[in-house]
Structures are given as structure tokens and as C-alpha cells.
Symmetry: C2
Subunit: 333 residues, 2 copies
Amino acid sequence: MSQKIHVVLSGGSGSRLWPLSKKSRTKQYIPLFEGKSLFEITLANNQSLCDEVIVIGNIDNYQLSLNALQEKAASKFQIIVEAMPKNTAAAIAFAALSVQEEDLLLVTPSDHIIKNKEAYQDAVKKAFDFAEKGFLVTFGIQPTKPETGYGYIQSNGSDVVAFHEKPNQEKAQEFLIQENYLWNSGIFCFKAKVYIEELKKFRPDILEACIQVMNIKETDFLDAIETSKIPSESIDYAVMEQSQKIKVVKGMFDWSDLGSFEALYEYFTSNGAYYVQDSNLIIAESAHVELHGLENMMVIQSGDAVLVMPINQSQTVKKIYERLLKTNKKLIE
Amino acid sequence: MSQKIHVVLSGGSGSRLWPLSKKSRTKQYIPLFEGKSLFEITLANNQSLCDEVIVIGNIDNYQLSLNALQEKAASKFQIIVEAMPKNTAAAIAFAALSVQEEDLLLVTPSDHIIKNKEAYQDAVKKAFDFAEKGFLVTFGIQPTKPETGYGYIQSNGSDVVAFHEKPNQEKAQEFLIQENYLWNSGIFCFKAKVYIEELKKFRPDILEACIQVMNIKETDFLDAIETSKIPSESIDYAVMEQSQKIKVVKGMFDWSDLGSFEALYEYFTSNGAYYVQDSNLIIAESAHVELHGLENMMVIQSGDAVLVMPINQSQTVKKIYERLLKTNKKLIE
């Protein structure tokens, strides 16, 4: 009998939420949500929906993933440790090649937050139905603001009209008004066999290279030399934007990729203001922070690092991270 | 032969420069000046001028004072540890009662900064001459701005016309224009005998209580029960403002009591900008601070505490300290 497999994509550089995130603890492993991490919350959200978990991760987060999976202890799981990042087309192929061909894969990021779990579960059930019928399903989220940081799916009911890159402000405003433009959530659902067939059709080079890697796999850790031969491509480019077998399921759940401190601030402001003091965001892991006479400011402390800046400049954090990578590496490790 | 004694007053609550200053390390012991503390700098500034050092301190700073004195190792020294603070009239009496009556005392705070050491030494030499002749000498500093945080000495040459309390802004402006109003620096010079005589004349109760304490003194540590009987009064109120034997020496040296982060910022801005980044003050003892997109801001870190606020609100620090004293005492210990 076919199984439902939760495929958790776990990567990232940890640059946008520095100093909370760093090389050794990317965004999804920070215990920001009542002591839970996004990785743990992702496992919990999908536990009742799937029979098994496969985490596609890397060497830096292997132990963190293992700890979280063992603590859950409810599902069968495996971890596949990539030797280097090769983007989502390959990562998902590793999962698809690790299961029975009739198994259904529910592929999710591990670093996004979902509110309204019932709406999420409804969407997943719809997706499994489509997947059972041989479709590749992508999840689109109804936009709530003219976001320029996400890709969009132009939909017509459950059919996809087109995928759109991150838009400019004007286009994002247009998309928001026309209600059939959905945020591309990075959540997918399909039968393992169908993904492999479609990848073979559009990018046989990626599939072949992935098969080579999986053929010589002996432990959780994939071979570096064979991995280096895999073309790096996203599932969107490689498969979803090419295939004729695409369906979109509209998720009516609140969703955020928490891709910046500004997004984190918005989330905490609307979901219990634990880290919000007046209009400031204060997240301190071990320090006591006194902030006075300031608004719209963030103070973030982790270990030896303290970051202070206006919340609305949080896109700069990535640049700071990149500078420190060159000048003061131990602060980002 | 009479000796010249440097009497160092070392007290303070540590509230204004929190978290750098705290109960266990008040302002004068923070190594902020190329690794040196104000206490060490005070000792160094007066070393060539005096034969001996007496520190009037408290139990919390005893070891810090001892370390600094032993490191200097150039002068004879003693430490008198007050059982509780009883203000400057008593503290100076303890010193005067510990030396020969002909000895000359140069009494200084330990938490002020002096630039232009030659001008300071010139002023001290003048003061010793007056002291030798039986005068009580106070040091007045030529104001450089309409400061409302200091008391003023109205002078006429080396004579004192009157002492003035901390003025309002308008008065401070007036004082600045009339060049004979000087900042009251808290530096004094006199013969031990003369101070005791004048204290006996104006506040015999203080002198008697101090004599009681010194009579039973066996170690560096003064008796608490006897000390508790001493009236608490400043040397200004008790003696200087009463006596007819007062002279003022005009100090032409740059001087600051560094009584707030704003004063510290001004000092560092004009004396090498080690802790100044753009227009911000960043002093971090062990953390790495990244500050972006902000001006006129201060970030101060020590141990587990981080303070973030606009520099010009630094008078609020004392209130924060007082709140923490009640709510989170370990942060100020």
C-alpha cells in the first residue's frame, strides 16, 4: 500500500536573521515560538497527515534535525544529508528515489510558519487527491498585501495559468487586486513516480545524476564527488513551469516565510507580542536588554553578538552577515 | 617634616553609567581609558605631587582600590573603609585624623577626568602654598558651557564671594558670561589641622563622632555602630560655605565629572573617538555590536546587560538602575 511521505527541505544560509541564525543554526532551528523551532512546528503540522518523514538536510544541521525527529518519535523517519546544496529539483529527486514509486510526497520547506492549521490540513487533503490522480500539485497562498519578495502563481481555479517571478511594487499591487494571483509557497505534493517521470521528461540530466548518487548511497551522507555533477535547479524551473500535469491548491491559511526581522516583527505583532515591546522588536537569547526612548527599533542578541537597527532596514542584515563572513567569521558560525 | 597626602574619595552608587557601572564596580573602576580606570588615572595624576595616598572607600570597592594601589606601588598608602556612606565632611575628617596635624591634604574625587596635566599641577602647587599658610582651598574650573549639573563658586581673584547651587539654564548662561563663576570641582587642599579646627568650629558634632570612630579603629574597616552616629554632611555645607579661611584656585585644565553617558560621549568625541562610531556611542565589554542606520544612539553592554537609547536621554539611566534595583537586582550587582 502506498505511503504518504512528508519531505522536509532543510537548508539555508542563516544570513537573514543573524545573529539568531548562523551557519550552525539556520532559521528553522531557532526556538522562537514558545520554545519551539519552525522545524519542530513543521514536523508537528504534518504528523497527522503523513506516515513517514524524510528530511533533506546538510551536514551542519544533521544533528539538530535528528534531535527534533527523535524527540517527536511518532513517525518513521530518515535523513538524507546532501554533500552540497543542489537546489530543490535534486533534493526532491533524492526523496522520490528513496520511496516506493506509488508513494505520495508532501514536500514542504521547514522554515515557514502556518497559522490556521485546519485550513492547511484541508488544502493538503485536496492536494493528496490530485496527487493520487497523477498531478503535480503546488500550493498557492491568497495574498494579503502587495509582497514583492515572493513569486506568484496565476491560477484559474485549480489550474495554473502561469508562474511569475518576484514582481515590482506596481505589479504586486495589481496581483493583489486580481484575486487569482497566489503566493508561491514552496509546498508541493505528488506521487514519487510522477515527479520522476516529469523530471526525466524535462531535465533527464538532473534525474540521471541523482540516480548515480542514490545508487552508491550507503549511509545518510551522500557522496560529494557524484553530487558535484548534479545540475543545480529549482523544482519550479525544472519541472513545475514545464509540466502539463500541474494543479494548484489554494491555501486559505495565514502563511509567512519569516524571511526577515521585519516579517518576524509582523508575525509577533499579530500573534501575541512576546518579543514586541511598544513598537520595538527585542529578541535576546541570554542578555537582559533595556531599550528606551526608541520606536520601530530592533535589538537582537545571541551569544557574543548584538544587532541594533531600525526594523524596516532589516534587509541590510544579509549584507552585515556577508561582511562578517569575511571579517569576523566566528560571529556567524 | 610635614607630608603631602593625596586623599582619594571613592564612593558612588554606580547608577549613572549602568550597565558599565554597578554596585561592585562604580564609575571610577571601569577601565574605559585605554585600559585604565579613572581611579588609576587619579592616582597617577597626583603621584608626583604627594608623598602618600589615603583612599576613603567602601567594602564593595576595597579590593579594587587595593589592586590599583599595589599595582602603582610607588607611594605609601592606606585604605580607610567606611562602614556606610556619611558624605564628604566625615570622609575627609577620617583622613585628617589619620595623619600628622601639619600634613597637607590634597582631597580629590576618584571619578573625574582631567586633561592638561601641567595646568593641573600648577593649580595644585598654588593650592599647597595657600594650604601651608592656613587656608582651606577649593578648586574652581573655568566653565566652557552653561552646565546645569554642577555647583558654582563665585570668585574674586583667589577669594570666594559665594557658593551657588546647581543653576537653571538661564542662570548657567549668565554664569558662563561672567567669567568669575567657576565650576565647583570637588577638589580641596588644606592642612589637616586647619580642616579639623574649622570642622570643630562649625560642626563639632561631626568631628566628635568621627573621633569616636577613629579612636576604636583597629583595621582598615571602620566600626558600623559608631559610624551610624555621624551626621551626614558635605564638606561644602559643613565647612567651606561657613569658614572665613577659604581660597579658590582657578584650574585652567579641562575637566569633566563624566557623570552621564552624554558626558562620556562628549569626552570621547573630543579626545579620540575610540568608542564613537559615526555619531553613536558603542561600549561593549564582551559582545560584538552591529549598529546600523542610527544616529546619536548609545549601545552599552556589560555582562548580561545591554542598554540601548538615544545619547541625549542618558539622564534616564539612573531611573532604569533604580527600577532594576527593585525588580532584577542581580543585573546591578
